[in-house]
Amino acid sequence: MRPSLNNAQRTASLAALGGLLLSIGLCVYLADRVPGHAMLLPPWPHLGGGALFGVLGQWLPSFVHPFAFSLLTAAALAPRPKPRYGACAAWCAVNAAFEFGQLTQIAAWIDAVLHTSHLPPALTRPLADYFLRGRFDVGDLAALALGSLAAAAVLQLLKEPEADDAH
């Protein structure tokens, strides 16, 4: 049974859920990951390195990221199904592309391209670090696909009953 909400409430729900999911993802990094190993992870030794989320914590960020950003993007888009579902597909593709980029062969190629580009080092260095230092994982691919599907399911659940692309 779908909740009875108006457009503004639906948008607010999507944004709130997206924000909540992002907070969960942040908790995984702060609690379970080694500090200082990523650009946005502060190197505070009293944080991280634990196992608060257990095994799930391994793939939770990959699940949460497309889930949360699909909802946030959908909240920002016009309340029509097509672009909102498109946001889910787009975030799935973006996350998958970044995951495949961590394959050694592709990472080395990206690194070479970044080195020869004329982009500022402040931009190229974190990107090169991400691809070279990150590790490709099939589990991440599965998690991000599930995250995107979950976002689509939420959109379906919160869809305006009479909404269609004719609007």
């Binding site: 888009l77 394959l103 062969q105 080395a108 991440d140």
Partner: protein, 338 residues
């Protein structure tokens, strides 16, 4: 009448979507993403947001000359690579046009217990897979000779055995140079220290060194097949790190040839094994002397060639007037006949 607010709302939505998209990508990159996260730190600097070295593979040796009946082995090494590595060695007898898998050769090292003439001019290629994905391909060349090589070597560097010829700089001025044969501090034992002063108006100092006893006469000793060259190099105080390069010199018929294998010392400790094996005429370029005629092989390795004298060449880069010191030890040239 509703057009303007509608347009504004659309623009606001587009801006919001762009911001969210940018934030999403920043979060992916900034978090490291993924279940496995980042690799363990290779060093302190790597985890201090220093640039991460690129993964790479290399072959050792890349060029090798062996006597019939002697062993040869090639090893592929990888750096900054994670994941499970697997190897498949292949060989090519047609200059690399086609390769065939070598049965059972699936480790990082491929060893031939006893080379024969059928292995001459063979290319050995290691295809390296990381987690099953073809990632690197590195090649080595093997030359085989049926006759032991003629070796010229010097690890004492007595002044009487060497002739130094400075090369004029950009302004025509010759660089000042000082050679000292030191009894210790080499790799090991005695070695030669050279100190160059970069001439005014120039950015480098260049000096040829000819080994007076190291002459090979193809007419009397036979045609040359390939030449192996090796030396140890070190940057010395007052050094300009990484600024000195070295290569093999052949003097023949009034011409001086440099091998195209310029190699930098780049080290304040002895760097052993600089140089390259299996050098052929095409691996040299004429530095000075009469121009080579069309169709002429330069340098000439044939049995009718003029005698060739060996030496080495050093070029040091630095500011005008700068003093750059470097050393050489274990200078060795091996002339292989077919």
């Amino acid at each position: 009448m509703r057009t303007e607010p509608l347009r504004r709302a659309r623009a606001l939505r587009a801006l919001l979507v762009a911001c969210i998209s940018l934030l999403g990508v920043v979060v992916i990159v900034g978090s490291g993403g993924g279940s496995l996260g980042f690799l363990p730190c290779e060093s302190e600097t790597v985890c201090n947001n220093e640039p991460v070295p690129s993964p790479a593979a290399g072959m050792s040796p890349t060029w090798y000359t062996a006597l019939v009946g002697s062993p040869a082995s090639f090893t592929v090494t990888t750096v900054h690579v994670t994941g499970s590595l697997s190897y498949q060695w292949q060989r090519s007898s047609d200059g690399g046009a086609s390769y065939a898998d070598i049965a059972g050769a699936t480790s990082a090292t491929y060893a031939i217990p006893s080379v024969n003439l059928a292995d001459d001019k063979t290319l050995f290629r290691a295809d390296v897979r990381v987690d099953g994905v073809p990632t690197f391909s590195v090649v080595a060349f093997l030359a085989v000779s049926s006759v032991p090589g003629v070796v010229f070597r010097d690890d004492e560097f007595l002044a009487a055995n060497w002739l130094a010829s400075p090369v004029p700089g950009d302004t025509g001025a010759l660089p000042a140079h000082l050679e000292e044969s030191l009894a210790s501090g080499g790799n090991p034992g005695p070695f030669r220290k050279m100190t160059f002063q970069v001439p005014a108006g120039s950015g480098s100092a260049r000096v040829f060194y000819s080994s007076l006893p190291s002459t090979y006469d193809p007419a009397a000793q036979g045609a040359v097949y390939v030449i192996d060259y090796g030396e140890d190099c070190i940057d010395l105080p007052p050094a300009n790190p990484g600024s000195t390069q070295s290569s093999l010199v052949i003097e023949q018929g009034g011409r001086r040839f440099l091998s195209n294998t310029f190699d930098g010392c780049n080290s304040s400790t002895w760097r052993a094994g600089m140089g390259r094996a299996s050098l052929a005429p095409g691996d040299f370029r004429l530095f000075d002397g009469p121009a080579c005629a069309a169709g002429e092989t330069c340098p000439d390795f044939s049995a009718s060639a003029a005698p060739m004298r060996f030496g080495y060449w050093r070029i040091s880069f630095g500011g005008p007037g700068g003093s750059i010191a470097h050393g050489i030890d274990n200078w060795k040239v091996t002339v292989w006949k077919r």
